[in-house]
């Protein structure tokens, strides 16, 4: 639980009550005080008026008594004061200032006499006593015949005051009690909706349920607050869902993602351990998908991945899980399998389902899967191990041509290990410079002379034989080692060519293969230019061979780059034409100079006339587009003859020369070998000639 709940912080409720009660108390006290003061003043002046008039009446009443010196009468008049508790003492003096008559409430002798220094008709306050000095006059103010003195007690005044204060205090207290009772009800008008919001916040915090909503429409501000609160909740909920989606699902296909799959796999393993269940992990990779992506673009690739996902989801049963592992890799988890037969059934269904062509706009694309399978607990007991083994099995399927499934075997691990070794050795090979170049001449079919050469990379692996390029180039591409290796090839080829040119042995182009990754390097052309300038060779001696896969992705960028290369004076050749989705029509888009027909076409030429006519039409169309045509892999004289008849320009292949070390090329150049010499001499004994 949250410990930030501090011990009893002041609540809005108690504050509101406090505010209301404080304001009420202050205003009541102020009103009561003012009222009391005003009352005191009023009572005082009333008392003064009252006593003054009593004194005056007394003075009038005793006129005759004083004048006729009738003491008895005077005493009688004064004795009337016994009914007035305010009057403590009353006294009458003669005009000669002699005491004539007096009354005292406590029957005591007079302690204070008339203050004749005081102005007549005035009064004095002395503590809680009040003295009045009233002259007795007759027939006008000037005829003073005596004096009346009254001493009054102000007790009544203070008593009145005390009484008022008591009443006011009672009123204040009862009003306060009412205020407190009322305010605790009234404050709810304000605090209730706020507390409701606070409660909602707490509930949401505790339950993590962002679906909760607060409804309050009573007050504008509260409504705004709750609306804002609700809006915020909606956004949080949305974001939450989105995050959950991101965390568990693959964005493109909507399948579960790798992380979620691994979680499920771990759970399945834990369950399997408890219940002795077996699971199967199927690792699926689409064959040649990369090629589709490269040649038709990512949007096509994405569409195919989505369609694949839909198909795979359709055939997945409830207990089983299919996820996208990344790229074109999909992965299945078949839980609690009863037998291997069950797994085989599933893979068959997958193969069957993916057999139907995918359609994208005008394209109908056939893709086959390679499926590797690992089994829990037979092949491993951790998700990492199981996935790795399924992956290895999948690679095995791939290397065998794909469109199949294989269960993992320990033997596969050996192959995978070998591949791993190649990768490791490749790293050291770059550092130790274990690569070298061989050169294969191209000859003119009409003159028979050497008209060019292709530089081919070779790897002399430490302590082993030569490694064929198809075994390490893909790995170099994957690991990025192709960049240093490719630079080395360019540099070496230029250096060698320059030395032959300088020696006067050779005056033609050297063709260098550039991989897709190399070509796409932003600084590829700058790099190439720098090497050419450093070695002081004319760019006209250079030819770059790229496959169609290189230019099919980001076509516009590729074309721009090709044009720059051409402007610099370097020729461009399309390599291995016919292996991909080569269509003659799009050749027009690219500024190629040379077209190299793949050896598979040449090999099949003699198998059927159809193939031969395809080659013929390729050559004729290429010529129409102004391209020079090179036939690759020409091994037999009749192939050469046929190609010459088809007006092919150059051939390359074992018929004239296998790839040679630079030393052997030098001697070949020095000899000035000619194709026709070779054909005349060797054709009868050619082992590959058909009978």
């Amino acid at each position: 639980m949250n410990k930030s709940v501090t011990p009893q912080k002041a609540t809005i409720q108690s504050k509101l009550v406090l505010i209301i009660v404080t304001i009420s108390t202050l205003s009541l006290l102020l009103a009561a005080t003012l009222f009391t003061l005003v009352q005191l003043q009023e009572h005082r002046s009333t008392l003064i008026e009252n006593l003054t008039s009593v004194a005056k009446i007394t003075a009038d009443n005793v006129q005759a008594a004083v004048l006729f010196e009738n003491e008895r009468d005077a005493n009688k008049i004064l004795s009337e004061f016994s009914s007035d508790s305010r009057i403590l003492t009353a006294a009458i003096y003669t005009a000669e200032k002699q005491l004539f008559s007096f009354y005292d409430i406590s029957k005591q002798n007079i302690t204070r006499l008339y203050d004749f220094s005081a102005e007549n008709g005035t009064y004095q306050f002395e503590n809680d006593l009040f003295h009045i000095y009233q002259p007795i006059s007759i027939q006008g103010e000037n005829n003073i015949i005596g004096y009346v003195y009254l001493k009054a007690n102000l007790d009544s005044l203070y008593q009145q005051l005390r009484h008022n204060i008591l009443v006011i205090t009672l009123i204040v207290i009862s009003v306060l009690i009412i205020t407190i009772l009322l305010s605790s009800k009234l404050q709810k008008l304000i605090s209730a909706p706020i507390l409701e919001l606070a409660q909602a916040t707490k509930t949401i915090r505790d339950d993590k349920n962002y679906g909760l909503r607060v409804e309050h429409n009573e007050y504008l501000e509260i409504k705004q607050l709750s609306d804002g609160f609700n809006l915020m909740l909606s956004e949080i909920q949305e974001r939450d869902n989105h995050l959950q989606q991101l965390a568990m699902y693959d964005e493109l296909t909507g399948l579960h993602n790798r992380k979620y799959y691994i979680d499920l796999l771990n759970q399945a393993i834990a369950r399997g351990l408890r219940k002795s269940q077996s699971h199967a992990i199927l690792f699926l990779d689409l064959d040649r998908f990369k090629h589709i992506n490269d040649s038709l673009g990512h949007s096509v690739g994405d569409e195919i991945l989505q369609q694949t996902s839909q198909r795979l989801t359709l055939i997945t049963r409830d207990d089983d899980v299919v996820a996208r592992f990344g790229g074109d890799e999909f992965i299945f988890l078949l839980q609690d399998i009863p037998s291997l037969h069950h797994v085989a059934e599933m893979t068959d269904r997958i193969l069957e389902e993916l057999r139907m062509p995918f359609s994208y706009r005008h394209h109908s694309i056939v893709l086959t899967p390679s499926i590797g399978i690992s089994l829990y607990p037979d092949n491993g007991e951790t998700s990492e191990d199981l996935l790795k083994k399924a992956d290895t099995a999948m690679y095995q399927v791939k290397s065998m041509g794909g469109n199949a499934h294989l269960f993992f075997t320990d033997a596969m691990n050996v192959e995978a290990q070998q591949r791993q070794n190649v990768e490791e050795d490749l790293h050291s090979a770059v550092i130790k410079d274990e690569f070298f170049l061989q050169y294969q001449p191209k000859v003119n079919l009409h003159s028979g002379e050497i008209m060019g050469m292709e530089a081919l990379i070779r790897w002399k692996r430490k302590g082993k034989d030569l490694v064929p390029p198809n075994e390490f180039i893909p790995i170099a591409e994957e690991t990025g080692l192709i960049i240093p290796i490719g630079n080395m090839v360019i540099n070496e080829a230029i250096l060698q060519t320059k030395s032959w040119v300088d020696a006067g042995l050779y005056n033609h182009r050297i063709a260098i293969n550039i991989s897709a990754k190399q070509f796409r390097q932003v600084d590829f052309l700058d790099n190439l230019k720098a090497q050419i300038e450093d070695n002081q060779i004319s760019p006209e001696f250079l030819e770059i061979e790229i496959t169609e896969a290189v230019v099919m992705e980001n076509t516009d960028d590729a074309i721009a780059k090709m044009k720059k290369i051409k402007d610099f004076g370097i020729k461009l050749a399309m390599d291995d034409f016919g292996t991909g989705y080569s269509s003659l029509s799009y050749l027009k888009k690219f500024p190629f100079d040379i077209l190299k027909i793949d050896m598979s076409f040449i090999r099949d030429m003699q198998v059927s006339n159809v193939n031969a006519s395809i080659v013929k039409s390729i050559i004729s169309l290429a010529h129409t587009l102004g391209l020079e045509v090179v036939a690759e892999g020409v091994e037999q004289e009749n192939q050469a003859t046929l190609l010459r008849d088809m007006n092919c320009d150059l051939i390359q292949g074992y018929l004239f020369s296998r790839p040679l070390n630079s030393v052997d090329v030098s001697s070949l150049l020095q000899k000035g070998s000619n194709l026709f010499d070779l054909m005349d001499r060797e054709s009868p004994s050619s082992p590959t000639t058909k009978p």
Binding site: F68, E69, Q139, G140
Partner: protein, 162 residues
Amino acid sequence: MAEKQTKAYSESVVKAALIYNILHFIEWPTKDLEICIYGANEQDVSSFNLFPSSTKAGNALLVTFLHKNGTLLIPDTCQIIFITGEAKINTRQFLAKTKNPQSVTIGESRQFIKQGGMINFVHKGSNIRFEINADAFKKAGLIISSQVLRIADRVYMGDDNE
């Protein structure tokens, strides 16, 4: 204190002082007042000659002695008529001759009030007190202060006259 003082003065001085004091408690229709004394002896004359020439309110106060051997003519101007004990006259006849209906008559005989007099001096021990015929005041249309009525030794009202 008051008793000692009265002893010091002669009887006629006390009577004069009483008359002077009483006249201040009567509401007079006129401002100036004339006191007429009938049957005054020497002492009376000297006592009333000491009379102030004005009231306390400052109005003129005239003292007139009437001859007892005279024609009993009583002037109209007399507002206060004091008939001394020495006059030896029939009070009723005397009063009938007074021409001013709003005059106050003062006497000092036992029968004075019964015979229609308004204020009568009586001896109470050594003191001189007075009686008031409130009914006569009422008939004369004169108002006398209640304070004087309180001090009076006896106040006659209506039936008391019989």
